[in-house]
Amino acid sequence: MARKAFMIDTSRCTACRGCQVACKQWNKLPADAEVNRGSYENPPQLTPHLYNKIEFIEKGEGKDFTWRFLNQRCLQCGDAGCIKVCPSAGALFHTEEGLVGYDQDKCISCNYCVNGCPFDVPRYDANNKVTKCHGCMDRVANGLQPACVKACPTASLQFGDRDKLIAAAKASGKQVYGETALSGLGAMYALDGSPQDYNLAENPSIPQSIFLWKDVIKPLGILGFWGAVGAAMLHYVTVGPKQLEDDFEDKGGE
């Protein structure tokens, strides 16, 4: 299946925030009680109840003043730090379409994905389970557009075959952010400005420590985990259940 993606054309965003509301409606997310802190931008950060939001960016003065709007959300990385770092198989995963989905039943509340994300996206809800934009994977799997895309009145948010979106954006002379970074983002920006204008990292990457984790420690850890389970079972069979917990804790990770 061709990889699906979002293309977010910042030149078309009027910050109407229909995307913020449509997301809450489809995903049945409650409102956060908010106060005005001296800005239109609200809530000020993504929350467990807020999967996408518009950042209002004021820069410059006088004739050089600009007011830019950026839809912030999970960027559905091809090489996703959150999936890489997640110790629980299947809690975070790539869908057939290439979106980064999650299964809260498999989430072990370790919070590693928060540190593994280069864009500070995952949040934990009241049950201490991971939440974030999953690209409306339920809608997409049924052939529908994500809720935010459907609500967008100006086609600033587009969703479709990743290759086609990139080709179309380039054909209309736009700079694509995220075409190759992190094995290609699944939510890209067609920027009318530089990444800095939008407070975006020029070359987003997964923190170095994550490579270490993914490529060295995690395989060892999993090996160690199963080693520990094996030892515990042996212990159970040979000694009995009483000391299982202690042994497991003591020897875990060996």
């Binding site: 009027t14 910050a15 106060v35 005005n36 001296g38 239109y40 004021e58 100006t154």
Partner: protein, 813 residues
């Protein structure tokens, strides 16, 4: 709108001024951005840098209330540089007409036109007239060189509006001023189109009507009326404002813009005589000459059809205005405040927050005996008696609350800004005990009529002789379920008897095909002549969903229906030259094939103007051409800059006439403390304006009850520039107090570069802005900005001046 939403995509230049379309009409930006995709330039002129400005190619700031100065400078720029469309003006406007030589202008009369009476505060308009030939037809100079012709006078009048003078009034840097002028005026060529998207930022001023007039003049100079991508486009603030205006929401009109009768117009013949425009020009269609057909058909729809011609079909039963009476919003609440009004239906509105000088409005409601509020939610009006500063024990007003169905809970039509009347269906049944508006009205009608029949009364016939055939009548004689289609059909109109027209027989009970078939002999009915053609024997035109666009310019003639007679672009006969060929060959609206018109429904089917026996292109005006010189206005045939009632400068830089000389002055004339104002007063040194935000709608009664929307815009705020904030020790996020002569509100400060200080008359003027979507009934949300706004209205319409007034701002103690 003369044009319609989709048509915005056909523009080469889009000016958004007096509106903030990106925030308040978000869907419009679909079409604005489509135009930009094709290379259009977007110009944003606003006191504040808005979400609209963020998308604009050119942004120009201006001080609130100085639009005429800004646009007057553009007229001067167009005329000085001969950027106008001469042929268009000669054919379609009164630019070549010769004006009465005794007519004098503000440049000679210190800000006034000839005929002003200081005592009456009004004009004798006798010199605001054209020179006429022996037949009474206006004289003209097709070369437009005669010093008394309209174009030359216009140039002379606006010669005072130099960029230096304009910039010194508006505070707009000259560079941006000229950028806007040059971009907009580039569309004076055939084949180029510019549009204006405006809203309350233009209307809600003491010179509101003249703001629009100034832009209409620019559009006529550039040949931008009638063409695709052009026009003068009012963005309506609610989905059905256009519909409610068409169907006589306002006091001075009956449905279809027929004038409300005056008490001195004793009978139908007098009404027709007094209200029908006349012309001596055989080439003018003067469509309003059909007035008698429309008023007669309206009476036949309103009242029992047994009423005969001898009974004037019930003309006596129509409500009438006392001669000279103004029953506009400000006047109603003024009279309520003074105790003259005893009962009040507040239907689908929240005047405790929406009314200018809302504190006065709230006090006025305490003088009522009873009030019925009809709304989806409790609101500041329904609960005014327990609001801030109110003592429930001291208020005798009995308040009734009727819960009503939302738009999704009922079937019917809405008419959008583009005049498209679109049918929509009930999605879900009404919640709880709420009912459709029509059901509530139906119940009221039968109960009130029954009371009149049982108990008599002063004037029962106005109610008991209404026609009320909107559904099946039960054994009790009452209708229990309104048939909304019956209402729509009555609006269209029926033949009330067999009638032969142009050789074709129409049977009694048939729906009238279009308003050309309406009669003044009582044989037809029509609840609104403009909508005649909307529901015919062919079916409900409003419910059509055809998606073909044979024109290629987005007219979509089979999608819903649009008044009049499905004409999608008004004045479209001005989109062609004398031979019927479109100015814009790539985006033609209509064109003459040699034997007939193609394209949109033409504004009258007559032949092109070069052929004999035709009629001029502006058929609703007696002279048959568009009015660059518009003598119908109260303050002058050309617009002139006057300062807002409350303004930050001592005198009008252009003349000794500071304010609009013909506005009704409430404070001076009525003397109420509530109507006080402070102009150029150190206590209230900052200019203020009000606006809406994307996240809330109107006073917020619907949106403040949706937590998702409250999350994004939770409470009252005031926007101010960093210089003023520093001066006042205010930081972003601080709670501040904003006060005017009428009241005060608390708000969170948003300190932003999006407001800049203005340099005006050598001084620095600060402006702040506040939304009016909040009310005390929502916890922690703050109260309405209309507690600050003044009791003063436009001279022609009395729309309140809520967009320019004076305030002070202090950090909350």
């Amino acid at each position: 709108m003369t044009n319609h939403w989709i048509d915005i995509r056909n523009s080469d230049v889009i000016l958004i001024m007096g509106s903030n379309a990106a925030e308040n009409h978000p869907i419009s930006f679909k079409y604005v951005l489509e135009a930009k995709d094709k290379g259009a330039k977007l110009l944003s002129v606003d006191p504040r840098f808005t979400r609209t400005s963020a998308k604009a190619d050119i942004y120009a700031p201006l001080r609130s209330g100085t639009d005429i100065a800004f646009l007057g400078g553009m007229i001067k720029h167009i005329i000085d540089n001969k950027l106008y469309h001469s042929e268009y003006m000669q054919l379609h406007t009164n630019a070549p007409f010769l004006v009465n030589p005794d007519f004098q202008m503000p440049g000679d009369l210190d800000g006034l036109f000839s005929g002003y009476s200081e005592e009456k505060r009004s004009y004798d308009k006798s010199t605001w007239s054209f020179q006429r030939d022996a037949n009474g037809v206006p004289k003209s100079d097709p070369s437009m060189q005669d010093p008394n012709c309209v174009l030359q006078l216009l140039g002379k009048h606006f010669s005072r509006y130099t960029p230096e003078v304009v910039s010194d009034i508006t505070g707009t840097p000259q560079e941006q001023l000229l950028q806007v002028y040059e971009a907009y005026a580039s569309t004076g060529k055939a084949g180029k189109a510019a549009t204006i998207m405006y809203a309350m930022g233009w209307t809600q001023h003491t010179v509101g009507t003249q703001n629009i007039r100034t832009m209409a003049i620019i559009q006529l100079l550039l040949g931008n009326i009638g063409i695709a991508g052009g026009g003068v486009n009012a963005l309506r603030g609610e989905s059905n404002v256009q519909g409610s205006t068409d169907h006589c929401l306002l006091f001075h009109i009956l449905p279809g813009y027929l004038p409300t009768p005056k008490s001195s117009w004793n009978d139908l013949a007098t009404y027709i005589e007094k209200s029908t425009p006349k012309t001596n020009d055989p080439d003018s269609a003067n469509w309003w000459a059909n007035r008698s057909k429309y008023i007669t058909s309206l009476l036949r729809a309103h009242f029992d059809s047994v009423l005969s011609a001898a009974e004037d079909f019930g003309y006596d039963l129509l409500p009438k205005l006392d001669d000279g009476q103004n029953a506009s919003w400000l006047m109603l609440f003024d009279r309520m405040f003074k105790g003259d009004i005893k009962g009040f239906f507040s239907w689908g509105q929240n005047p405790a927050c929406s009314g200018s000088n809302a504190g006065k409005v709230r006090k006025a409601m305490a003088k009522l005996d009873w009030m019925v509020t009809v709304n989806l939610f409790d609101n500041e009006t329904a609960s005014f008696w327990k609001g801030p500063g109110m003592d429930p024990a001291a208020i005798d007003t009995e308040v009734f609350f009727l819960p009503i169905a939302a738009s999704f809970e009922k079937e019917g039509s809405v008419t959008n800004s583009g005049r498209w009347a679109q049918w929509r269906y009930q999605a879900v049944p009404p919640l709880g005990n709420s009912r459709h508006d029509s059901e509530v009205m139906n119940e009221l009608y039968f109960r009130v009529a029954e009371l009149y029949r049982k108990e008599g009364g002063a004037f029962p016939d106005a109610i008991t002789k209404l026609s009320w055939d909107y559904g099946f009548k039960g054994p009790d004689g009452k209708i229990h379920h309104m048939d909304i289609h019956a209402v729509a059909k009555e609006i269209n109109g029926y033949f009330l008897e067999d009638k032969e027209i142009k050789g074709k027989l129409y049977k009694k009970g048939e729906l009238v095909p279009s308003f050309a078939f309406l009669q003044n002999d009582g044989s037809t009915s029509s609840g609104n002549w403009l909508y005649c053609n909307s529901y015919t024997e062919k079916g409900n035109m409003l419910a059509r969903r055809g998606q073909s666009d044979p024109s290629g310019v987005g007219l979509y003639p089979e999608w819903s229906w649009c008044w009049p007679v499905n004409r999608r672009i008004l004045y479209n006969r001005a989109s062609v030259d004398a031979n019927g060929q479109p100015w814009d060959k790539k985006q033609p609206v209509i064109w003459w094939t040699g034997s007939g018109w193609k394209g949109d429904v033409p504004d009258g089917g007559w032949k092109p103007l070069s052929q004999p026996g035709t009629k001029k292109s502006f058929i609703m005006l007696p002279d048959g051409v568009a009015s660059i010189f518009g003598a119908g206005m109260k303050e002058g045939p050309f617009p002139e800059h006057y300062e807002p009632l409350e303004c930050p400068i001592e005198k009008n830089p252009l003349s000794g006439t500071k304010n609009n000389p013909v506005i009704k002055r409430f404070y001076e004339e009525g003397g109420l403390e509530e109507d006080v104002f402070y102009s150029c007063d150190q206590r209230y040194p900052y200019v203020a304006t009000t606006y809406r935000v994307t996240e809330h709608w109107q006073t917020g009664v619907m949106t403040r009850n949706i937590p998702w929307l409250l999350e994004m815009q939770p409470s009252m705020f005031v926007e101010l520039n960093p210089e003023l904030a520093k001066e006042k020790g205010i930081k972003s996020g601080d709670w501040v107090k904003v006060s005017s002569g009428r009241g005060e509100v608390e708000a969170v400060a948003i300190v932003t570069e999006r407001f800049r200080p203005f340099k005006v008359q050598g001084t620095t003027i600060h402006q702040v802005g506040l939304p009016w979507c909040y009310g005390w009934n929502t916890p922690n949300a703050g109260d309405s900005a209309n507690l600050l706004t003044p009791t003063i209205g436009d001279a022609n319409t009395m729309i309140p001046e809520t967009k320019a007034f004076q305030v002070n701002i202090e950090k909350r103690g």
